[in-house]
């Protein structure tokens, strides 16, 4: 056992005289370079910001529940949707996914730590400070003009809304600087992940024998170099515009507002795949274990992921069909956007083929994965609809797009994340999460999710634009908005159950043992929680399922790979 991997539970179980002072525990965590602790900090940080982003979403939904509501002012509403989007993408989804990668990748490749442990700590703190800088805008955003607080231009920050004429005060600056700072952390994480996977694998773990989670994080890490760079470049150009009299995005002085759009979406759309690929990674580990079958089509799963990585950089302009783009340009981006459905579909078929004929065990992690499959399929189908320029001309900037996007982020990524929480929690803490509470969490969240986001499709088709503060009665939108708002409260209840389950299970959950799911990858071959050095002896592997080989020497996998 590693005593300092569970400081709170350990502290509470010790007599008061033997407990470490809280300050000392805190100091240990602040100066740590251990990939597991940094992974846990990423996740806790993301969860903290999820509370902020969730509250912002709830306030928006209350405002939209009925026509002509005055729950918040238009200015506050604008800030809410800007901060909600920015928070959820940059400071919730990314940190939590990075946290899981940080924790799991070294364990799964049989390494003792990341390739650059100190860079790992630096990357985390840059991300963390970036989030704090963003929220400091509520306090310091007014500037000398006393104008506004938090940014209010939407998370795309389209020009000219960010120009000094429209964004007085410093809220835009805090937004820009926050993303610049966290971007440095993100690139650091990407470099570290790629270097770790390429250089730190244990003996026998050739690229063809890596767990799929590791492969997918390798692709994601590589993508980070190319997704974050355009955003950082655009942020610097914006700063030059705002502070040094530049005109990159100033249409009155020869600049182009659409330049920002291109820069932002060259980052923005691959970013969606940066987020969804780790979610795919979770499914690729959880689905086989809970189907009691080896993954179907390992090589094609890897190829599909690499294909998604490449194609994702050629689809950005499907967000821009309504700007001045030539028809052949539109045709290209329609084709690319449709093409990306092919490798994505391959993955869905392969997960289904893995389940098919298996002995499916519908424990909570698997339930969330099944939910993912269903919802992500629908998200993909609405994505295919929106990929077609004529449909997008009609539905773009409507609530249909909001519904599609949240189907991807919540119905896909968040469901996979919840599955990952339930699956790896025993490894991180040594204790099982409560199954009954887990099932309550799942079913309430499924119901809440569909109540919230299904009606948004209809409201969008009925013409409801996104980002409106309120609406008049008589459009036929009111009932759908009321249902959506009700769904948010169901989701919030489910989240509260999840948080309670996390805390309750951490303190009082059943002992998990080293390998509570009878799984097959290396992280389950060390203690739960793992010691600081992960493995006393660096393991040697012969196949993609090293623990299967260990448990079944009479029928090892390497004979078939």
């Amino acid at each position: 056992m590693a005593p300092d991997s569970m400081p709170i539970a350990r502290a509470l179980s010790l007599p008061r005289s033997e407990r470490k002072p809280w300050l000392e525990v805190l100091h240990e965590w602040v100066i740590t370079v251990d990939h597991k602790k940094i992974g846990v900090m990423y996740v806790l940080y993301g969860l903290l910001f999820m509370v902020a982003g969730g509250i912002e979403a709830t306030l928006m939904r209350i405002q939209l529940a009925v026509p002509e509501a005055r729950f918040v002012s238009p200015q506050v509403f604008n800030r809410l949707f800007t901060m909600h989007g920015t928070t959820m993408i940059f400071f919730v989804a990314m940190p939590i996914l990075f946290g899981f990668a940080n924790y799991l990748v070294p364990l799964m490749i049989g390494a003792r730590d990341m390739a650059f442990p100190r860079l790992n700590a630096f990357s985390f703190w840059m991300t963390a400070f970036g989030g704090l800088l963003l929220y400091f805008s509520y306090v310091g955003g007014a500037g000398v003009y006393g104008a506004g607080s938090a940014p209010s231009f939407g998370w795309w920050a389209y020009a000219p809304l960010t120009s000094p004429a429209f964004a007085r005060g410093h809220s835009t600056d805090f937004w820009t600087l926050a993303l610049l700072v966290s971007g440095v952390g993100t690139v650091g994480f990407g470099v570290n992940t790629v270097a770790t996977i390429l250089c730190m694998r244990c003996p026998g773990m050739k690229l063809t024998k890596m767990p799929l989670l590791v492969w997918l994080n390798l692709v994601m890490g590589g993508m980070l170099f190319f997704t974050i760079s355009p955003l950082t470049a655009a942020q610097l150009m914006l700063m030059i515009d705002r502070y040094l009299g530049g005109h990159f995005f100033d249409t009155q002085a020869g600049g182009k507002a659409t330049l920002w759009m291109h820069f932002f979406w060259i980052f923005g759309h691959p970013e969606v795949y940066v987020l969804i690929i780790p979610a795919f990674a979770f499914l690729s580990e959880i689905v086989p274990v809970f189907s009691r079958k080896a993954i179907f089509g390992y090589p094609i799963m890897v190829a599909a992921t690499v294909g998604i990585g490449f194609i994702s950089f050629g689809v950005w302009a499907h967000h821009l069909y309504t700007i001045d783009m030539p028809s052949y340009g539109q045709a290209f981006f329609v084709g690319m956007s449709l093409a990306i459905a092919v490798p994505t579909g391959i993955k869905i078929f392969n997960w289904l083929a893995t389940m098919w004929g298996g002995k499916i065990w519908l424990a909570t992690p698997m339930l969330f994965c099944v939910g993912f499959l269903f919802q992500f399929l629908i998200a993909g189908l609405t994505g295919v609809i929106l990929a077609n320029a004529p449909f997008d001309w009609q539905l773009g900037n409507s609530y249909f797009v909001v519904a599609h996007f949240h189907y991807v982020i919540v119905g896909g990524i968040l469901f996979a994340l919840f599955g990952a929480f339930y699956y790896w929690f025993p490894k991180v803490t040594g204790r099982m999460m409560d199954e009954t509470l887990g099932k309550w969490h799942f079913w309430l969240f499924v119901i809440g999710f569909h109540l919230t986001f299904d009606p948004m499709h209809i409201a969008g088709i009925l013409g409801m634009p996104r980002r409106i503060w309120t609406y008049q009665p008589g459009h036929g939108w009111a009932i759908w908005n009321m249902i959506s708002t009700f769904g948010v409260f169901v989701q919030a209840t489910a989240i509260l159950i999840f948080v309670f389950n996390l805390i309750h299970s951490y303190l009082q959950g059943a002992q998990a043992g080293d390998d509570p799911w009878d799984a097959w990858t290396l992280e389950w071959s060390t203690s739960s929680p793992p010691p600081p050095y992960n493995f006393a002896v660096i393991p040697e592997v012969k196949s993609r399922r090293p623990l299967w080989d260990l448990k079944h020497p009479e029928d090892p996998d390497w004979q078939y790979e």
């Binding site: 056992m1 602040v30 100066i31 370079v33 251990d34 003792r112 730590d113 442990p117 100190r118 860079l119 700590a121 630096f122 703190w125 840059m126 963390a128 400070f129 970036g130 704090l132 800088l133 400091f136 310091g140 500037g143 410093h170 600056d173 805090f174 600087l177 610049l180 700072v181 440095v184 952390g185 026998g204 700063m239 009691r292 079958k293 179907f296 098919w356 004929g357 424990a363 043992g513 080293d514 390998d515 509570p516 799911w517 009878d518 071959s525 060390t526 203690s527 010691p531 600081p532 050095y533 006393a536 002896v537 012969k542 196949s543 260990l550 079944h552 090892p556 390497w558 004979q559 078939y560």
Partner: protein
């Protein structure tokens, strides 16, 4: 037992790990304050620059001339590849025939799909012509309508003209009918092994009804003129006729085993090693 003891003796007693350090957080804080000064006060930038410099130097000195490491004592608890959780133990017993199988393990040959498609096409053609006779439009009416899927002229002529024989329309309709029947037959050949219990129910009823429903819901938008001339009851009947005949023909063909674990090179017909039985235990250790 002796082997286990020896293995325990071989274990290292200590492992060196990177020592914790505050310099990364100092550097991160410095950079953050440095840029935050742009939107607040220059003094914050100065403070941030100082912290960043201190962080950089401290980090450098942490690594050079020698990386600072800390020693972790190894507490050896041998991994037990068995979990006592009853939920897991229960499931372990029901594994494991086919735990590695790439289903379906048996499929129909391509020829089965072709035969099924051709047989189905005959059944569908007979039903369509029967409709022509019963509805008094004549046997060429459904054929001309089928040609109208890609060739709009028949929809623009009178009802009398659309019921008469036209060689171009006949050739177009025959090509569509044979090609589509072959493709659907091949699809049945590929899909039916995945539903071995009820192939006729799936191929004969479920698939045709789903397809007809889909077409019915969109044809009015895609091609309203064609939509007006279709008798949907007969349309569904002919689809079901195709499905049942094609399904029956496909299901009666002999199945063949898939080559489960053979490497691609061998499946492609190349003479290479790599069959499972060729491998020896040392091979996996490379």
């Amino acid at each position: 037992m002796a082997e286990e003891t020896k293995r325990a003796e071989d274990l290292p007693r200590e492992v060196e790990m990177p020592s914790p350090t505050a310099w990364p957080i100092v550097l991160a804080a410095g950079i953050t304050l440095l840029v935050a000064g742009l939107a607040t006060t220059v003094w914050l930038t100065v403070l941030g620059a100082c912290l960043a410099a201190a962080g950089t130097v401290g980090w450098f000195r942490h690594l050079y001339p020698h990386e600072r490491l800390e020693t972790e004592r190894v507490e050896h608890e041998p991994f037990k590849p068995v979990t006592e959780r009853p939920e897991v133990a229960r499931r372990r017993e029901v594994i494991q025939e086919g735990h590695r199988a790439r289903v379906p393990v048996e499929i129909y040959p391509v020829s089965a799909g072709i035969k099924g498609g051709l047989a189905g096409s005959v059944a569908m053609a007979l039903l369509a012509m029967l409709y022509g006779v019963v509805s008094h439009h004549g046997i060429w009416y459904p054929i001309n309508l089928l040609a109208a899927v890609v060739y709009a002229r028949p929809l623009l002529v009178s009802s009398h003209q659309i019921s008469t024989f036209h060689i171009q329309l006949f050739l177009v309709a025959a090509a569509i009918h044979v090609l589509a029947s072959l493709l659907v037959g091949l699809l049945y050949g590929a899909v039916l092994p995945m539903f071995p219990r009820r192939p006729i129910l799936l191929g004969g009823f479920v698939a045709p009804i789903v397809w007809s429903g889909l077409l019915h819901s969109v044809l009015g938008i895609i091609n309203p003129l064609l939509n007006q001339r279709i008798s949907w009851g007969w349309f569904v009947a002919s689809q079901i006729g195709f499905g049942i005949v094609a399904g029956l023909v496909v299901a009666r063909q002999g199945r063949i085993h898939t080559r489960q674990y053979l490497p691609f090179a061998i499946r492609a017909g190349l003479e290479v090693s790599g069959r499972p039985q060729d491998k020896d235990p040392g091979e996996g250790q490379q």
